[in-house]
Amino acid sequence: MKPLDENGMAARLAQDIPDGAYVNLGIGLPNRVAHFVPAGREVMYHTENGLLGVGPVPRTEQEDPELINASKKLVTMVPGASLFDHTLSFAMMRGNHLSIAVLGAYQVAENGDLANWATLEQNFPPAVGGAMDLVAGVPQIYALMRHNSRDGAPKVLKRCTYPLTGAGVLTRVYTDLCVLEVTPEGFKLIDLAEGNSLEEVQAVTEARILT
């Protein structure tokens, strides 16, 4: 097995963002996608905390402590960027104005269900953030996640066991091992990370991968 590292995963997903798209990037690994816009394309990355047009990580002299992304990391702005408050930011999401949202996930399922906000642990306070707003209003939802958890537990499932963020909302799943499309029949393979075979990936996946 040759899993992609985090930059590899973000770069792979960025290849599928078309020119001119408006794309929300969620907290954690999804925020890293902003670093990898393929040459010749212009993409407007949206962060829920009020910026459309997220640019790369600042050089030291560019750093502004009040210019951050959803992961609370320092960012820059690209030409054509705009700043706004939370009500307008979430109107963009819920009102169907964005093209794609990229979200982290605890679990994804072959019926398109996404679980990324709460586990079943007692005393572990849930934190939903903007995920439910995104799945309610953005037509294309891409999960970006490790294929399995660190202890080997499967995350690409037949059915989610954690509380759902949204039912049947996923369009695609990008992991360190492969890219899957969610179809009415289940997960369909788009491609494999270099150096991995379908048999190897299927062996560590609970859900059936169709080809």
Binding site: T47, E48, N49, G50, L51, D64, P65, E66, L67, I68, K72, L83, F84, D85, H86, T87, S89, F90, M93, R94, A118, N123, F124, P125, P126, A127, V128, G129, G130, A131, M132, D133, A136, G137, P163, L164, T165, G166, A167
Partner: protein, 222 residues
């Protein structure tokens, strides 16, 4: 004459009472009124309800209110974040009642309170645990959850610049929840980096002074 300037943070938070419902602006470390929160800690009021996006990090002023057991209830979208140690500890001890609200629903409920809207239907959270027990309705084939306005007694907000009329401008992503919270509280207190002698340019005002009760200069940028 309209003059909303107050001389110091302690004077600004003096009206806050035990049991008050308090909105706190900011997202992450951006746009949080750290000066006002520190003054609120000194002020000593208890049994507070805090409405905010996050629930404090490390030993920041919001976390300290939790550490000192001043907060009995938190309404927020993302309480658990790296470093939210005091929130997690008090929550595990059962000392804090938590209401988790999706971030856009939180902003929209606050806006409804400030705009005289009695409630609204949102598609967010339909069919999830967070919609359990709530009124739902299917409109033109889409499922919606009914949400009520969320008002407050006080809003503590942070802005870049103010004038004596209470008009406010923000900086970068420090805008976030601050303008909408300013509209929704009975008494809104703004901590600002620069308190200008001249009026702000009317086109550049984000929060008109009508929504603001007092402004106090606190020149630090986090």
């Amino acid at each position: 004459m309209i003059d909303k300037r107050v001389s110091d943070l302690a004077t600004a938070v003096a009206p806050i009472f035990d049991g008050a419902v308090i909105m706190v602006g900011g997202f992450g470390t951006s746009g949080i009124p750290f000066g006002l929160l520190a003054a609120l800690l000194d002020h000593g009021t208890r049994d507070l309800t805090i409405i905010a996006n996050n629930a404090g990090t490390g030993e920041d002023a919001l976390a300290l209110l939790l550490r000192e057991n001043r907060v009995s209830r938190v309404i927020c979208s993302y309480p658990r974040s790296p470093g939210s140690v005091w929130f997690e500890k008090r929550y595990e001890e059962g000392l804090i009642e938590l209401e988790v609200v999706p971030q856009g629903t939180l902003a929209e409920r606050i806006r409804a309170a400030g705009s005289g809207i009695g409630g609204f239907f949102t598609p967010t959270a339909y069919g999830t645990l967070l919609a359990e027990g709530k009124e739902t309705r299917v409109i033109d084939g889409v499922g919606y959850v009914f949400e009520k306005p969320l008002p407050a007694d006080f809003a503590l907000i942070r802005a870049e610049q103010a004038d004596r009329w209470g008009n406010l401008r923000y900086h970068a992503t420090a805008r976030n929840f601050n303008p909408v919270m300013a509209m929704a509280a009975k008494h809104t207190i703004a901590e600002v980096r620069i308190l200008a002698d001249e009026p702000l340019e009317p086109e550049s005002v984000i929060t008109p002074g009508i929504f603001v009760n007092s402004v106090v200069e606190f020149g630090v940028r986090p």
